[in-house]
């Protein structure tokens, strides 16, 4: 990496171990951060785990981690648990992930979908069986639904933004593995599904992203529309939570977090990761917070 020179925050004599775990969605970003950070600071060990957001938090609230990656904000139960153990933490947003609603390439009749249509389609008590039930002019073909596991941050966000916390239909195909969803939607003509923007981007040739009309006309998901927030409401933030105590006690953690905030945007939006960077100001703001916490 040519990043190593300008990213050399600590000048190379830094050492220590950093414990990072959590969301698999955030993993590619943190992997990239670690890779670059370690290239600059060979004596620092910053491995990244993927226990999932929930698994990450479980460890985090026990004090087993320095950083917990999350694709959703921390829940109340988890906060309480952290409180019980006396763990104090800070949330940092690293990048954004656009949820792409995709259909098979063969479904050329679909030009866009509104948020309401999505809601109607995905709700449990929804009467939607065929495309015709969505819009009368569409064919009466049975729709197949694909969704990330109900246990994923992606789903959580969908739940919030589209379903508004109402139960989702139970005949949707769920999978924790977004590649599996890609396969699913590619493989069936009348399928619809949603997953992270990165998965769409990597499979553009096989899938068709549906423009979403959030009230301001149909918007297609791409780097600009997501970064600008134009693609609404389906872009979600990706976080990392830092243990305040580690930040103070472990110089490496501080340097690492700072490095992450400096580089996350650029790394996340690279081709091999496929997320969207936050606006610059957002990172600077967070960096300040970081310095305060660390007492720098």
């Amino acid at each position: 990496g040519n990043k190593s020179e300008d990213g050399a925050a600590g000048g190379g004599d830094l050492s220590g171990k950093i414990k990072i775990d959590g969301s698999s969605t955030v993993f590619p970003i943190m992997e990239a951060v670690s890779e670059e950070f370690q290239a600059a600071n060979p004596d620092v060990q910053a491995p990244v785990g993927v226990s999932g957001t929930g698994g990450g938090f479980e460890k985090f609230v026990r004090g087993e981690l320095d950083l917990a990656n999350a694709s959703r904000p921390i829940k109340d139960e988890e906060k309480t648990a952290a409180g019980d153990k006396g763990i104090e933490f800070t949330e940092f947003e690293l990048a954004k992930d656009g949820l792409s609603v995709v259909v098979s390439k063969e479904s050329d009749f679909i030009d866009h979908l509104t948020v309401d249509e999505l809601k109607k389609m995905w709700l449990e008590e929804g009467k939607v069986k065929t495309w015709k039930d969505v819009r009368p002019e569409w064919p009466a073909e049975k729709i197949e639904f694909f969704s990330p596991g109900t246990d994923s941050g992606t789903f959580d966000y969908w739940n919030e933004a589209i379903l508004e916390e109402k139960p989702m239909r139970r005949d949707a195909q769920l999978s924790e593995d977004d590649n599996v969803l890609v396969q699913g939607v590619t493989g069936s003509k009348n399928a619809i599904g949603f997953f992270g923007y990165a998965y769409y981007q990597a499979n553009k040739d096989k899938l068709k992203a549906v423009p979403i009309d959030g009230g301001n006309g149909p918007v297609e998901p791409n780097a600009e529309t997501i970064e600008s927030g134009e693609y609404a409401p389906l872009s979600r933030p990706l976080f990392t939570y830092v243990n305040n105590k580690s930040l103070k006690d472990n110089e490496a953690v501080y340097e690492y977090t700072k490095f992450a905030l400096e580089n996350a945007g650029e790394l996340a939006s690279s081709d091999t990761i496929g997320y969207v960077s936050l606006p610059k100001e957002k990172y600077e703001e967070q960096m300040k917070k970081l310095d305060e916490l660390a007492g720098k």
Binding site: F27, V182, N203, L267, G274
Partner: protein, 292 residues
């Protein structure tokens, strides 16, 4: 004489031979089917994985850039885990087997241990992951270290080794034990100098096959908290680690096609490792086959 009608026996001969031919065809077909599936699998893996397979692939750490990514950390992690698992499971497994076969009296306790072991052999590996997390990572405070992972794996394959060792010890003929006792050897002398060396090939074969199962295991280590991105090799037993299957699993779940191909390359390496281990087992098995 005369209850058997020689004529009808002769007449039936043709159809019986035909039935044999048909059955043989079907049996070959079934065997061929399995081999065909294996062929397809291997073909798919090779066609995907070969392009990325290189020396660098083996010696590089993982990277976000597919062309720079390698499996060094995972490979060494796997070796480290095996370095813990192999001796621990071997010692515990053989010890248990020796106890059960040589020392234990035929009582309820022994029977219970026996049933318990064969039951453990059937417990899904993911459950062992939960166990390892609770006992080694948390209670024992080892963290998600090589040691915790190795111990968990040890417990996972322990029953297999015990059963294989028992089998091996049982095939040591009673006669040669008697020969040893007959010369005034004590029980321990007999076990150490006769029974154990004689059973060793069987034990080793069983152990290697069990280890090769452990090499491919993903679920328990995932639960345990093994890491996915590691850019260093473990330094000691308390180091954090990743292993091959986790690295592969991680790559397969990436959106980009390139990572899927990396995974295929990794699978080739994993298969080669398994192949080597199996070959060693087969070698041992053949070399010491039917010694008694």
């Amino acid at each position: 004489m005369g209850l058997i009608n020689k004529e009808s026996v002769k007449k039936r001969m043709g159809s019986r031979i035909a039935a044999n031919g048909l059955a043989k065809f079907l049996f070959i077909l079934a065997t061929g089917f399995s081999l065909l599936v294996l062929g397809v699998l291997i073909y798919r893996i090779l066609s995907q994985g070969l392009p990325y397979l290189s020396f660098d692939f083996i010696t590089n750490f993982a990277s976000r850039m597919p062309e720079r990514a390698g499996i060094w950390a995972a490979l060494l992690g796997t070796i480290w885990i095996m370095a813990v698992t192999a001796p621990v499971s071997f010692i515990l497994g053989v010890g248990t087997a020796i106890y059960l076969e040589e020392y234990a009296k035929k009582n309820a306790f022994t029977k219970f241990v026996q049933v318990n072991i064969s039951n453990l052999a059937g417990v899904p590996s993911i459950v062992f992951g939960l166990l390892g997390l609770t006992i080694f990572v948390r209670l024992a405070g080892l963290g998600s270290s090589v040691l915790a992972g190795g111990l968990t794996m040890s417990l996972l394959i322990l029953p297999v080794i015990v059963v294989a060792s028992q089998e091996a010890i049982r095939t040591v003929p009673r006669e040669i034990r008697e020969a040893s006792f007959g010369m005034g050897a004590t029980k321990w002398q007999t076990i150490r100098r006769i029974v154990f060396p004689a059973a060793l090939p069987g034990i080793l074969t069983g152990t290697i096959l069990a280890l090769s199962r452990a090499v491919g295991e993903t679920a328990p280590l995932l639960v345990l908290g093994a890491l996915a991105y590691v850019a260093f090799v473990p330094e000691n037993l308390l180091s954090q680690f990743t292993v091959l299957p986790i690295q592969l699993y991680n790559w397969t779940s990436r959106p980009q096609e390139d990572f899927h191909m990396l995974a295929a390359s990794g699978i080739i390496i994993l298969l080669i490792i398994l192949l080597i281990m199996n070959s060693i087992a087969v070698l041992i098995r053949n070399k010491f086959h039917k010694r008694f």
